[in-house]
């Protein structure tokens, strides 16, 4: 796979394997029709509204509050998911205990469980008369129909991202490095914070960014538990649905554009983290 140093004149390197034209053409056609064309429709709609229109929508008090709730709560939820995700990943790869494989499989539950199903389950658990909600109410915390409920749903859907991005890297850590550190007199805590943790930071950040992006866009698992009170527990994706049901396609597109813009920034950040990680540590 050595790249030639002279300037490339060809689009594709010659190969004896057949079928490039067919498969590449098919791929591009599908991609254009399914992904690019519909997204272009959004871009077209957004440019029709113009930057002033988008800013106007974003500064509308109800929209601004929904965006603040979506991004703010998602930030806190992604942080929580990252901390506990790291702990879960560490326990699963480093410790041996009965039922470990079962616990490992359970982590993927939010990937497999449809969001609406998770949503009604969380809502009934955390409702004031629900199993967990009643206990929280005694502590004076109301989870359902407040941002706390949104937080819980976002932690639920973000957790697998946080676990699965760090887990393979913890498994790859060379134990000899830890032994060397210990032999040189470091305490376990020093070894963990100075030797083990630093190379894992990019993966933790990637998991955090993925959980964050997922939380911002999430709809199904949140709307049931959130109660959807404007200015209190109304999330941005729900506001898009509301605008659509009012046939306000311009308003819906403006909110969608803002959300997409921030998603792209998150995606870009993930790529930058990975590029930095590759330079710094030699792997993603």
């Amino acid at each position: 796979m050595v790249q030639t140093s002279r300037p490339k004149r060809r689009f594709r390197r010659p190969s004896v394997i057949p079928g490039f034209g067919l498969t590449f053409g098919y791929t591009l056609t599908c991609l254009s029709l399914v992904v690019l064309l519909p997204l272009a429709a959004l871009v077209a709609k957004a440019s029709g509204i113009g930057l002033t229109g988008i800013v106007e929508t974003a500064t509308d008090p109800r929209v601004a509050s929904a965006l603040r709730i979506s991004f703010g709560v998602s930030l806190v939820a992604a942080l929580t998911a990252s901390v506990f995700g790291f702990l879960v990943a560490w326990v699963l790869t480093r410790y041996r205990f009965p039922g470990r494989k079962l616990v490992d499989a359970v982590v993927d539950l939010p990937f497999a469980l449809p969001t609406a199903v998770a949503g009604i389950a969380l809502a009934s658990l955390y409702a004031p008369n629900g199993l967990v909600g009643a206990q929280l109410a005694r502590l004076g915390i109301q989870a359902a129909y407040t941002p706390v409920g949104i937080f819980i749903a976002m932690v639920f859907i973000g957790l697998p991202f946080a676990v699965r991005t760090v887990q393979p890297l913890i498994a790859e850590i060379d134990k000899e490095v830890e032994e060397a550190s210990a032999t040189l007199g470091a305490t376990r805590l020093t070894t963990l914070t100075k030797v083990v943790l630093p190379p894992l930071i990019p993966a933790v950040l990637t998991g955090f960014a993925m959980a964050f992006a997922r939380g911002v866009g999430e709809y199904g698992s949140i709307i049931f538990i959130a109660g959807n009170l404007p200015y209190v527990s109304e999330i941005a994706p729900l506001l898009i649905v509301i605008k659509l049901s009012e046939f306000d396609y311009g308003g819906a597109s403006a909110i969608a554009t803002i959300m997409l813009g921030i998603s792209f920034l998150t995606l870009l950040t993930i790529n930058l983290i990975q590029a930095w990680s590759r330079r710094r540590f030699g792997y993603v």
Binding site: R12, R13, P18, G19, F20, T23, F24, Y26, T27, L31, V35, L36, P38, A41, L42, A44, K45, F84, L87, W90, Y95, F97, K101, D104, V107, D108, L109, P110, L113, P114, A116, V117, G119, A121, L122, S124, L125, L131, F156, F161, P168, A182, T183, T187, R188, G217, E218, Y219, G220, F224, P237, L238, I240, V241, L244, Y249, S253, A256, M259, S263
Partner: protein, 297 residues
């Protein structure tokens, strides 16, 4: 093993060797951390799952089964199966085509292509629905074309299928691309040298190599296709008995305070999720070498 060793070594050697607590945490800390992790997972993941089944059977088997006597429930199940039966094969074929062109050839702009295929993963489900509404609504680009030709796209089956294809678009390609890149092209080149046609080489050499990865990704693609809520909710129009998929039917029942019925229908999807997880885990344990490493799902 290290405990057994240190127990038998001399005191003098012991001083030279790092104590066991330096290469792992003390036992008490290990148990504490394991306990916290399991308690967290039990509270956040397992409890909601258990709740679904507890609520579904809260009024006994009779009431549970009565939920499925309703024609609306059956039409929702039929619609969901139909949508998955179209969307999953579409993405299967796309995934194989994309993986073949990306993994077996070197060309300019490859990483951009992979990023674009991945794009639907980072788009909010609601936005995924919205873009199709913009395209096919009466003010949209295709707003008049399809209705004029006697085809309703929005608030009908085609719209639901399109939105489902969009949200599940990367699943198969995402798994197959790294898997086929890892496997390289030497086996196919050998087959071609020995006189096989391209298609023959694919069917007899490539396909057996990727079969477990293929099954794995189709499984996850199907789970998402049958369970998608946000995107489908936006394009479906919620016409009872006509354009309601199973997740949308769950929402309607729940909003009508018909909780037992909502959880009964939800238990079907939860059952599907459990079956998916079991097969997925079985594939990971048995064929981990034949699956793409480090995939997200």
């Amino acid at each position: 093993m290290s405990e057994a060793l240190t127990a038998t070594t001399f005191a003098a050697d012991k001083a030279a060797e790092p104590p066991a607590s330096s290469v792992s945490e003390p036992a008490a800390v290990r148990w504490l951390l394991t306990g916290i992790a399991i308690a967290f997972l039990a509270l956040f993941l397992v409890l909601p799952l258990v709740t679904i089944f507890v609520q579904a059977f809260a009024k006994g088997w009779q009431t549970y089964l009565a939920t499925f006597d309703e024609p609306d429930a059956w039409s929702a199940i039929r619609l969901t199966l139909t949508v998955a039966a179209i969307a999953v094969p579409f993405n299967l074929v796309f995934g194989i085509m994309a993986a073949w062109s990306i993994a077996k050839f070197e060309f300019w702009g490859k990483s951009l292509l992979v990023t674009l295929i991945d794009l639907p993963f980072s788009v909010s489900p609601v936005v995924s629905g919205l873009i199709y509404v913009l395209l096919f609504s009466s003010q949209g680009v295709f707003g008049t074309f399809f209705p004029e030709h006697g085809m309703q796209v929005l608030f009908a089956l085609p719209g639901i299928v399109l939105a489902t294809i969009f949200v599940t678009f990367p699943f198969v390609a995402r798994e197959l691309i790294p898997l086929m890149q890892e496997q390289g092209t030497t086996e196919e080149e050998a087959a071609l040298t020995l006189g096989a046609t391209g298609l023959h080489a694919f069917l007899t050499v490539t396909l057996p190599n990727i079969r477990w990865g293929l099954l794995y990704s189709v499984l996850l693609c199907n789970a998402r296709a049958m369970g998608e809520f946000g995107a489908v909710s936006v394009v479906s129009g919620h016409i009872r008995g006509l354009t309601n998929t199973v997740p949308l039917h769950v929402e309607i029942l729940y909003n009508e305070y018909n909780f037992v019925a909502a959880f009964a229908v939800a238990s079907l999807l939860a059952g599907l999720a459990l079956v998916t997880l079991v097969i997925k885990s079985a594939l990971e344990w048995r064929y981990s070498g034949e699956l793409a490493a480090g995939t997200r799902h």
